[in-house]
């Protein structure tokens, strides 16, 4: 479904990503890991359409992917994903309001239909008891559940998650993993999830991409960009490999910092 052809990304003299190529089939759950600053979020932004490659192209169903966000690609950020001035319920209904009206306000029968649909969605993510609250009154985990419900109501084909659970407690994180996995199966989504937690990447989803520098020039650390150093099917490799990747990543991360 998605084809990535020789994608390069630079900011000025800094090469962020170099020569990335991959093919992704419908329904895959891909986890992107790597040291901070290695370009995995940049890559996600290019899939989202808020950033474009300098060279190469990303194709969706054979056509260049749109260079601005649209309803085909849902997104959940680490924070600020929900609208603070709307209640939990309104945050989910708003997607239908955008879709069905010119000005974005739903009335009468259509509003009732959207409300029922939104309540069902909130039920799935376990937030129906909070429907009348504002996001400020929710915990971090609840807010991310809301962001996911909001992203899924329009049934996007692709769901992009940018460190969605990075700010959450480990216990809550496990709950969120279960939720995301069940929604992925239920809605047959194609998921890209950026995380800095390798263990998270290793037991979620179907495929793991490790972003790291292929070449390193100690005198000019930004001369070379990151590529995909490992492309692994999840569940079919040994724990030792995980260890190896983990130590490799942390060492190159340190070199970058120093």
């Amino acid at each position: 479904m998605i084809e990535i052809r020789n994608v390069w990304k630079r900011y000025g003299d800094n090469v962020i990503l170099e020569n990335i190529s991959a093919t992704v089939a419908e329904g895959e759950f891909i986890t992107l890991v790597g040291a901070s600053g290695c370009g995995k979020s940049t890559f996600l932004r290019m899939l989202l359409g808020t950033d474009v490659p300098n060279q190469g192209e990303i194709l969706l169903d054979g056509k260049t992917i749109a260079d601005e966000p649209d309803a085909e690609r849902g997104v959940v950020f680490q924070q600020y994903s929900v609208f603070p001035h709307m209640t939990v319920l309104e945050n989910v209904i708003i997607a239908r309001a955008f879709e069905k009206t010119h000005l974005g306000f739903l009335w009468g029968k259509r509003k009732r239909a959207a409300r029922d649909e939104a309540m069902a969605m909130l039920e799935t993510v376990g937030l129906s008891h909070m429907a009348a609250r504002y996001p400020d009154e929710l915990s971090g985990g609840m807010r991310q559940r809301l962001a996911i419900a909001q992203a899924l109501i329009l049934k996007p084909r692709i769901l992009l998650l940018d460190e969605p659970f990075g700010a959450l407690d480990p216990g809550i994180r496990a709950d969120m993993h279960a939720l995301v996995l069940s929604l992925w199966r239920q809605h047959k989504l194609t998921v890209f999830m950026v995380t800095h937690d390798l263990a998270e990447g290793f037991h979620l989803g179907t495929r793991l991409w490790v972003f790291d520098k292929l070449r390193l020039d100690p005198q000019a650390p930004n001369r070379f960009g990151a590529g995909i150093t490992y492309d692994l099917p999840v569940g079919q490799c040994e724990p030792e490999l995980l260890q190896e990747i983990d130590s490799g990543l942390s060492s190159s991360g340190q070199e970058l910092v120093s």
């Binding site: 989202l48 950020f77 001035h85 992203a151």
Partner: protein, 271 residues
Amino acid sequence: MKRLINQQPTRVWGIALSLLPFVFLLVLYVTASDARLAENPQDKLLPSFSQMGEAMQRLAFEPSKRTGEYLFWQDTLSSLQRLGLGMAIAAGLGMLLGLSTGAFPVAYSGVAPLLTVASLIPPMAILPILFIVFGLGEVSKVALIAIGVTPFVARDIQKRCLEIPREQLVKAQTLGANSGQIVLRVLIPQLMPRLIDSLRLSLGSAWLFLIAAEAIASTDGLGYRVFLVRRYLSMDVILPYVAWIALLAFVIDFALRKLSLWAFPWQENRS
């Protein structure tokens, strides 16, 4: 003994401390006024409270011999009308300019530099131009307030608009929203409380513009009256008028704050 920065007054002490300076000033005034009046009963500089009461009684509850109006209320009404109209225009224009420059990069490039320059012009300096263009009537006074306050509101709203996390705008786009829907459902609702804050902050300068304009060319209004009776050294009118202006300013500010909290309950847990 705790450090001074950690010492919190108790509730009673807190209220007592906040009242203290008012009581002190009041006592100081009464003593000074009594001393002067004992020396010379005709003294006009520091009138007693009963003299002020009589003057206000005359202005507020007895029709003027010349026009038949109750001058105090007529002044208040005229001033509040000018202030309200000027602030309303400034709010509308400021929101329009701030929102469009904050939301659309094209509008930012086109309008923001002009806005910056415009906000640097002291509004009082163009008051003569307003008098020449609009005449000495109501329009020039309202225009002065509107022109004085609009650039501040516009730049404040612009800044606030740019501060709204980009993630929200991206999110709205992934939910299929077009530019108009984002402005109507995401930006404006979040900027409304900011607009009220901005108006509260600019209320002080709005009063300044109002009183200055009234002092120069007017036939009624609070500012007109204080500058008129100055000729007769009528401190017994000026002081109550100044207190009344302060009270009105306080009430307007309080009402705007309450309005903001009531109309936008989602911001209650912030700050």
